[in-house]
């Protein structure tokens, strides 16, 4: 039997990034419009749709504690400024942008408070702790180590590209960098992954 016939080979995406494209579920934009019209259940649906992705991204950013609080703060900030969301990117990548800024702001504040550790040191020293207590199998442990071996930027790009399915253009928007730079980071990450898997 060809491995291509393996039904688990292609992971079924839980939800396309911009919300369902077809079908009965309303898109992100439709839900935003409903929320603006006073339907708060639309906000709940949006929260349910994007919270886990925000938690995953927070973990890839090295957030260790209070990830739920970080996700909540991100969403509250996003809903408070949804009028400035022009729909030029997907809502999810816009949320990632907000979350990333929030994480960096908090790191800067923490750095000022401590007055000793640089941002680079914080990010380089960050472990992929979201995986720490959850991976038992040897294969998973190996994958964990590989992800840990990536640089913070490579890990972030790798997560956005592979796990969240963002395009290079969207990743560039989230990271406030160029599309080419995002592509280079991804290919460098994949180079590390391939070499580690040999």
């Amino acid at each position: 039997m060809s491995r291509l016939n393996d039904p688990t080979l292609f992971a079924s995406p839980s939800t396309p990034i911009g919300g369902p494209l077809l079908g009965s579920d309303p898109s992100d934009f439709a839900l935003i419009a409903q929320w603006k019209a006073g339907d708060h259940t639309a906000a709940t649906l949006l929260v349910e749709r994007h919270s886990q992705a925000l938690a995953r991204y927070a973990a890839s950013l090295g957030a260790r504690e209070d990830i739920e609080e970080l996700v909540q703060d991100t969403l509250v900030r996003a809903f408070n400024s949804l009028d400035s969301f022009r729909g030029e990117s997907s809502l999810r990548s816009w949320l990632f942008t907000i979350e990333r800024r929030l994480v960096l702001d908090r790191r800067r504040a923490e750095r000022r408070r401590r007055g000793q550790i640089t941002l680079a040191e914080v990010t380089v020293g960050t472990e992929y702790t979201a995986l720490d207590s959850l991976i038992a199998e040897e294969t998973s442990a190996k994958l964990q180590r590989i992800v840990q071996a990536l640089s913070p930027m490579q890990r972030e790009v790798f997560t956005l590209r592979v796990v969240e399915g963002l395009s290079y253009k969207e990743i560039a928007g989230v990271l406030d960098t160029s599309e080419g730079a995002a592509r280079v980071h991804y290919h460098n990450a994949m180079k590390v992954v391939r070499e580690s898997l040999r």
Partner: protein, 201 residues
């Protein structure tokens, strides 16, 4: 493992995993994967990574997060220049109108209170509280200060309606008023001690 001759396919594997490729692209990649073990292995690796990250992400209590989401409030629109000018003129006109209008008013309650307090101090020395309350009532209702100053609407005073004046004209008027009467509105009227003396007598 054989080397892939089509590197573009590898670049699309994350999109394939996340189900965001067009059906035609999916068919094209599946065809490629049928003959490329390198891309097929990479797809399986990416899928394993994705699965590990997805399953290990912290669980979020979405109902709790949803409770924190605020109700929609439209963002305030930025004011145009025209509105800023109009608002500025209105504020000046209102301030100037209030100032001129106030010139014809009796002293404020605080000033009246100063008169009453003067009498209260005097009477409390005698210990006659009934006289004290009578005096307070008298000073509030029939103060000589009140009878001497007549309320005059600003329209009569100026002969024009300041709310219809242009900003330039209002400014000229302000300067003219300052020249005529240097006293500012915030100054305490100097007649209060006189009133207190009259009541003592």
């Amino acid at each position: 493992m054989m080397q892939c001759t089509n590197p573009d396919v590898k670049d699309l594997l994350p999109d394939l995993l996340n189900g965001i490729l067009a059906p035609a692209d999916v068919a094209h990649i599946e065809l490629h994967l049928a003959g490329c073990s390198s891309c097929l292995e990479e797809l399986q690796s990416l899928r394993a990574f994705r699965s590990v990250v997805m399953s290990s992400a912290p669980s979020i209590d979405t109902s709790r997060v949803a409770l924190a989401i605020p109700l929609y409030r439209p963002a305030p629109r930025p004011r145009s220049g025209w509105w800023q000018v109009a608002a500025g003129i209105s504020i000046i006109a209102a301030g100037l109108g209030g100032m001129i209008y106030g010139r014809g008013l009796p002293p404020s309650s605080t000033e009246s209170g100063a008169t009453v307090r003067t009498d209260t101090i005097r009477l409390s020395k005698t210990g006659n509280t009934s006289t004290e309350s009578a005096t307070v009532k008298h000073s509030a209702d029939t103060s000589p200060f009140q009878s001497q100053r007549v309320r005059r609407p600003y329209g009569v005073l100026l002969g024009v309606d300041v709310s219809r004046m242009s900003a330039d004209r209002l400014e000229r008027l302000m300067r003219e008023l300052d020249r005529i009467d240097g006293a500012t509105w915030g100054e305490t009227p100097t007649v209060i001690p006189v009133v207190a003396s009259m009541e003592r007598e």
